[in-house]
Symmetry: C2
Subunit: 337 residues, 2 copies
């Protein structure tokens, strides 16, 4: 099952090509720094780090940091260090998430915890987080440190919030947004804001990029949650139905449960709370979502935040960087095909 | 079974009374800050944080930070924030350690993971680490940030090292020291060094406190490892034999294994590698340690590092702070009674 989107400029396939080209030099440096800072005499550390780092993430967050610094004329190497820090924070979160969610697959590959165990995943995550902070300190911007360390706390707080709300079908849409704002959007927001910060851009420019990142992050997570009930496995790198089988109460489920009949709610309780989430149940869940427009409306919410992200950048002069960052919004939303 | 130490100044019971009195005002502020920074609308966070924080740790590390700043005339509130950061880093490590070690008891109480689960322990640890970094950033000293973020990486690296060497009886004494230097001594060292750093003390003063902390930390961990084979449960807050039952290769085991006959080595292999570590095995292990002087010599190593810690402070003028910090060395070593 797929959901076809009517993109505003339906003529071209939205792409992050422009962003990739613009940040190519910086990203090359980021990749070098990743390898060197994930290095350690303790063999297990580079092994696990490389497993995750080479497993085909798009490096979206570090590219956003690089672009958001360069667009304000930054010419040092601090943005490379901050971009690498952002990627390490993200990687550390993935390592800990997989332990918390007991996930076996990530981006189409075995998770680190299934290969090296939960223990190593926890500790290597801690190591990468420590290395991230060391790199930030090297850059020497207290403002950037403030933004990224605050994000680190908020992300963890969001993860605990999600854990506390686990399998609770009475979770409201507002509560869901609090969780994804903290666990996903806060890092996108920080990744975008530190660029103008180290470039010495204005208060308004900082606010613009912060808002762009926050809303992009919300859109990104909403689409991720929609994809779980109707994406193409290869594109997504996770299997359709992973969230369902793990009993995650994401927006598609929240909408479907709220809009459903009492019989349907009983089905959701069985599936999510009692974990009766086999293939037949998944098929039924997807049929109910289609009936109630749960996926379409989840994507609609994502488009809403995408619009806000776009408008956040509106006051900035028209540059290739600006249009590359706007393409990212369309790219994230168009992942649902 | 107990080991009686002949303290150099055998007349008095070594105590941290002087340190407690000197840092009382600062420690009151630390305790307030702990409560406020471990606060969150996400209920599980303060619950878990309070469980750990109220469970009777001595607050040795934050007291060292407070004293090491005040002894150089520091009069702001930055040392309170750094001391709280140090305690949070320590608490985060305990939370993750208990998950990694699958421990059920810590300081005589159930561990957080047995009450709230591994997942919450991992995430609340991450939250406390994030909060620690935020507080450090507030203080605004890049040198202090460098010292503490480097310690965070090294601690995690040490934990991975320990995991990789787990149950390996061929671990050398040198490898053991690399592990405890990273996982325990690095934080003591950082806790002591950031004091002179924010007080604007000299390079030599920084080096003195760093060395004091490092060697104090080594002595502390050695005694901790000795206590596991002969301390008083109530004093220790963990049960004698915990390390043995978990198959940890600590110095008492390393010495005993290396000095033992081939029959004895077969016993150790069964106990540590095959996990045949019941009460009878523990009794035998303790008898072998007595035979080979493994505990006595572990304590001897601790005294060696205690001497180095004392000499590190020797060039400093004789003040109450200095003598309070020296008392800490004796206190740590005299825990074996």
């Amino acid at each position: 099952m797929g959901v076809v989107l009517n993109l505003e400029d339906g003529k071209r396939e939205p792409s992050i090509r422009k962003l990739i080209d613009l940040t190519a030099a910086g990203l090359g440096e980021v990749n070098k720094l990743i390898l060197s800072k994930a290095g350690s005499d303790v063999e297990m550390i580079p092994e696990i780090a490389n497993h995750l780092i080479s497993s085909g993430g798009k490096r979206l967050r570090p590219m956003v940091t690089l672009a958001s610094a360069e667009m304000f004329g930054y010419s040092g190497d601090g943005h490379v260090k901050l971009a690498t820090s952002v990627e390490f924070m993200h990687t550390a979160t993935l390592l800990h998430d997989d332990v918390v969610d007991e996930s076996d697959m990530r981006r189409g590959r075995k998770t680190a915890r299934t290969i090296w165990g939960n223990q190593a995943s926890v500790l290597v995550g801690d190591f990468l987080l420590g290395q991230a902070f060391r790199m930030m300190v090297e850059v020497g911007s207290l403002d950037a440190l403030d933004i990224l360390s605050t994000a680190a706390s908020i992300i963890a707080e969001g993860e605990v919030m999600q854990l506390a709300a686990a399998k609770n079908l009475e979770t409201t849409e507002d509560e869901y947004f609090s969780v994804i704002k903290a666990k996903t959007a806060a890092l996108f927001s920080a990744a975008a804001e530190v660029g103008p910060v180290i470039a010495g851009a204005s208060r308004n420019d900082r606010a613009a990029l912060r808002s762009y990142g926050m809303n992009l992050g919300l859109a990104f997570q909403l689409i991720d949650d929609a994809l779980d009930y109707g994406g193409d496995t290869k594109k997504l790198g996770k299997n359709v139905g992973d969230d369902f089988r793990e009993g995650k109460v994401t927006l598609p489920v929240i909408l479907c449960y709220r809009r459903g009949s009492s019989e349907e709610r009983a089905f959701w309780k069985q599936a999510i709370e009692d974990n009766i989430a086999d293939d037949a149940a998944l098929e039924k869940a997807m049929a109910l979502m289609a009936r109630h427009g749960a996926i379409t409306d989840t994507i609609g919410r994502a488009r809403h935040f995408g619009e806000i992200a776009r408008d956040a950048l509106a006051p900035l002069p028209a540059t290739t960087y600006k249009s590359a960052l706007i393409d990212v919004i369309d790219f994230c939303i168009s992942r649902v095909v």
